[in-house]
């Protein structure tokens, strides 16, 4: 551990682990006090450690989506749900429905209990959105792709290429609109859409052929010294492991799922994936330029997230899911609250952000300067 910390970007994996742990924590409770605490924590950390990239604005967007989730959840429940409890707020007229739709009810009384239960539920969903938004704002998905293990390299390139298509298509549309203005073209409707869509698609196709040529000329997909059996084993282990982990997430979130589907499957899946990655890392042929290091701040950030999640899950069930029928004021369980406070630490633990370099156009270095290219 060094005395002073140099500004750098934290490993994207650490932020994603931290955010994912908070999202899991949020999914385990409907206690609004704890949920609001999680939103406050993500908001504070994002404000403290958000880099100045286009991605970093995404937190506010996810926050709005979360609010929308609450509104929709409450509205649907009020209209369609069966209302428990006796505290009626308002009585809506009941929509008469044909007899074959018996059991479905639209309108009727809306109770305080119902509104509270649905808003707790909506809040939980909104907070999960918030956690994803925080991860997006703190580190761009592109950086995460760069840090993918060697076993996932080809998939990573495919996603990177796909991500690059969008800004290029936007640029192409811009150029075409300029061209249309130059030519004074003013058709509307279908002709206009055709006039823009076809050249953009043509351009995208040409661009992908060019890109394939460029990738080939730059050595993408060179035959390494890896035997085919090892390559196949890597792919097989990774794929099965990831599938197992996806399946286990269902078991973790849904309490009614068979108990074997949760934690045990997660452990097996993680083990298989790790084995696949380890095998993939051994195959030669590629190296990585300036990989993001994983040092103690990364361990701390990921660790505080996990600790918060574990502490929250250990809280008493009555406090994690406060009853709405009968109405009970939600309490503040001590252990989960203290645990969540841990997740606030990354705001100080994560290294400070590097300041952006001043942007100004440059000229090439003067030709008279001595040669700096050595035969490496």
């Amino acid at each position: 551990m060094t005395g002073h910390r140099l500004p750098r970007m934290l490993h994207p994996g650490a932020w994603w682990l931290w955010a994912a742990a908070l999202a899991v924590a949020a999914s385990r409770t409907t206690n609004p006090i704890l949920l609001v605490a999680i939103v406050a924590i993500t908001g504070y950390v994002v404000a403290a450690r958000r880099p100045a990239t286009p991605w970093s604005a995404s937190y506010a967007m996810f926050l709005k989506v979360g609010l929308l989730a609450i509104v929709i959840r409450v509205a649907l429940y009020a209209l369609l749900g069966s209302q428990p409890g006796a505290h009626v707020i308002v009585r809506l007229p009941v929509l008469p429905l044909p007899s074959w739709m018996a059991g479905v009810r639209i309108g009727g009384p809306i109770t305080l209990e119902g509104v509270l239960a649905s808003s707790y539920d909506g809040l939980r969903l909104g907070v999960i959105f918030c956690c994803i938004g925080a991860a997006n704002a703190l580190t761009s998905p592109r950086r995460l792709l760069k840090s993918l293990p060697g076993a996932l390299y080809e998939a990573g390139v495919a996603i990177t290429v796909a991500l690059a298509v969008a800004p290029q298509a936007v640029a192409a549309v811009g150029r075409l609109r300029t061209a249309r203005r130059i030519r004074g073209r003013s058709d509307r409707g279908l002709r206009r859409i055709r006039g823009i869509a076809i050249p953009v698609l043509e351009g995208a196709l040409e661009r992908s052929v060019d890109l394939a040529a460029a990738l080939d000329a730059r050595g993408f997909g060179r035959r390494g010294a890896t035997p085919a059996a090892v390559r196949r084993a890597t792919a097989g282990l990774t794929l099965i492991g990831l599938l197992a982990m996806v399946a286990s997430s269902y078991g973790l979130v849904e309490r009614s799922a068979p108990s074997g589907l949760g934690v045990p499957l997660l452990v097996v899946g993680a083990a298989l994936t790790a084995a696949g990655f380890a095998l993939g890392a051994r195959r030669g042929g590629r190296t990585r330029y300036r990989p993001d290091p994983w040092r103690w701040p990364e361990w701390l950030v990921a660790g505080t997230g996990l600790a918060a999640a574990v502490a929250l899950c250990l809280g008493p069930a009555s406090a994690l899911a406060p009853s709405t029928s009968p109405l009970v004021a939600p309490g503040l369980p001590l252990l989960p609250a203290l645990g969540l406070l841990l997740a606030l630490l990354p705001a100080w633990v994560a290294p400070p952000l590097p300041r952006p370099r001043p942007i100004r156009p440059s000229r090439p270095a003067p030709a008279a300067q001595p040669s700096v290219v050595g035969v490496g």
Binding site: R185, D216, A217, V373
Partner: protein
């Protein structure tokens, strides 16, 4: 290092081979310049070296190409990536990542170069090509010249034994081109890198070449530059001057030519005609206090500019000085942040990528669309096209036309709207000398018929041939404005070759010299 053994390349569905019975060798550490008229197969030849032909383009390759002892028939481009660095014509099309630094590292990552070495080489390449301050920038936000430098840097970083460059300086301003070429010659001298380069702007590269390979309909001819250029159909102005005056050996650099030209300067001194003075006319377009900005950063700062009918104005300046922005603002495509543009009539703009203006499936459909857009009678555009470039087949897809034909089609489309002002952004990129001469004749004629013509360009030879007046932009401001003759002769960067050889005489082109010589006799 590279050897072509009786190579014939035939693309699928092609009537005749793109290359026929080509045999030549390039030895280690040589810089070979490939020249030839458009369509002679220069790009095909270059793509053969790293195996893109035929592995990627398809087609049939007879004979064989050996690079560093490897046969390209059995080694696809990816297996040759450690020996051959290839930079294509369009740098943007060759980019794989989206940030400068990652792009420089990509090739080395694929080759499995040790991370410590990789880190050092990226830093070296950043310095070598002057990219240090751009390292975090996205590739799409760079200017054309910066992109070209990144593209070259990204293959240089791998330290290939062979560097193949297809028109590396076409998009660059004169100063940036010199820098790139100087960096390249240093690589040749210091590292013994073998370079194969193809460039239309011979005046920029001829002096660096050890040997020239001339591709023509009758096959390939290689030899020392002075021998090949003596009767080559494509030649830079300095060689034309040498041929005209009958110098032997043919000088290829300004220095050599200036030494040979001392007697000529003396003879011509007394016979240089006084420059024509223009009669004052009412301006057809006028910009006043023009300010344009991108994202709050001003690109043009209070520009005042008049355009007169019958005048050809050249706008020069380094990459990113605001030339394209000035043209787009004059044409009403960009809104000025302050100031005004008044035009009596329309401004027709030919953008940097002329093909952007073409989106129909055939030449005929394109012409019909242009007639409808402009509201002119049917057949107007076709008639203009036949006038500019006779013999373009109506059924062809615009994409399949040659560079020159495509430019003529775009010009016809723009002229169909009967603009009073014609603005062209970098029109000579990728044009060979013959096509450029046609363009010059067209522009002169348009000016003669009362159009005002504005050309934004890096091509000093084009300016010398066609421009009456020249404006130099720097940092969004006009730093010089005057008759092209005076401005060009006064500036070492923007002077054409003939003027550099004959300075201080105000002669810019071979035509000027011919006139003066005729007067002297």
């Amino acid at each position: 290092m590279i050897s072509f053994e009786d190579v014939t390349v035939t693309y699928p569905d092609a009537a005749w081979p793109a290359l026929e019975h080509i045999s030549f060798d390039v030895t280690e550490g040589e810089l070979v310049l490939v020249i030839g008229p458009t369509g002679a197969g220069k790009s095909t030849l270059l793509k053969c070296v790293n195996g893109l032909v035929p592995h990627f383009t398809g087609g049939r390759l007879a004979g064989r190409v050996l690079v560093a002892g490897r046969d390209t028939r059995t080694s696809p481009p990816r297996e040759l990536a450690d020996v051959v660095g290839y930079v294509g014509q369009d740098p943007l099309a060759g980019f794989v990542t989206d940030v400068v630094e990652d792009e420089l590292a990509y090739g080395m990552e694929s080759l499995g170069i040790d991370p410590a070495v990789m880190r050092r080489r990226v830093e070296e390449t950043l310095d070598l090509l002057g990219l240090f301050e751009l390292r975090d920038r996205t590739l799409l936000s760079l200017s054309a010249g910066e992109q070209q430098r990144v593209a070259i840097g990204s293959v240089l970083a791998v330290h290939p034994a062979v560097l193949v460059l297809d028109e590396p300086t076409s998009a660059l301003d004169p100063a940036a081109a010199e820098d790139v070429l100087a960096a390249m010659t240093r690589l040749v001298h210091d590292l013994g890198m073998t370079v194969l380069i193809c460039e239309h702007r011979l005046e920029r590269v001829v002096q660096y070449a050890d040997r020239i390979a001339l591709l023509g309909p009758e096959g390939i001819r290689t030899g020392p530059p002075a021998d090949i250029l003596r009767d080559s159909p494509v030649a830079p102005p300095i060689v034309d001057l040498g041929r005209l005056v009958g110098w032997s050996p043919l000088p290829l650099s300004i220095r050599d030519a200036r030494r040979a030209a001392a007697p000529l300067r003396e003879t011509l001194e007394r016979h240089v005609g006084a420059p024509l003075s223009r009669t004052a006319t009412e301006p057809v377009a006028r910009a006043h206090g023009l300010v344009t900005s991108y994202d709050g950063v001003p690109v043009l700062r209070a520009i005042d500019l008049d355009l007169h009918p019958g005048e050809v104005l050249a706008v020069m300046g380094r990459n990113g000085a605001g030339k394209s922005t000035l043209l787009a603002t004059m044409a009403g495509i960009r809104r000025p942040a302050a100031g005004s543009v008044t035009v009596s009539g329309r401004v027709g703009l030919v953008p940097q990528e002329p093909a952007d203006l073409l989106w129909a499936q055939s030449v005929d459909a394109e012409c019909a669309d242009a007639d409808r857009d402009a509201g002119s009678s049917a057949g107007t555009t076709r008639a203009l096209l036949d006038d500019l470039a006779p013999g373009v087949e109506g059924g062809q897809h615009p994409r399949d036309l040659s560079e020159g034909q495509r430019l003529a089609l775009v010009l016809a489309v723009v002229l169909a709207a009967e603009p009073a002002v014609l603005a062209l952004d970098e029109p000579t990129r990728g044009l060979d000398y013959a096509t450029k001469r046609r363009l010059i004749a067209i522009l002169r004629r348009l000016a003669g018929s009362g159009h005002a013509v504005v050309v934004a360009t890096h091509d000093v030879e084009l300016v010398a041939e066609v421009a009456d007046r020249m404006v130099v932009l720097a940092d969004g401001e006009i730093v010089s404005d005057g008759p092209a003759r005076e401005v060009a002769v006064a500036s070492p960067v923007f002077a054409p070759q003939v003027s550099k050889v004959l300075a201080p005489l105000p002669l810019l082109t071979i035509g000027d010299v011919q006139l003066a010589m005729a007067a002297a006799q």
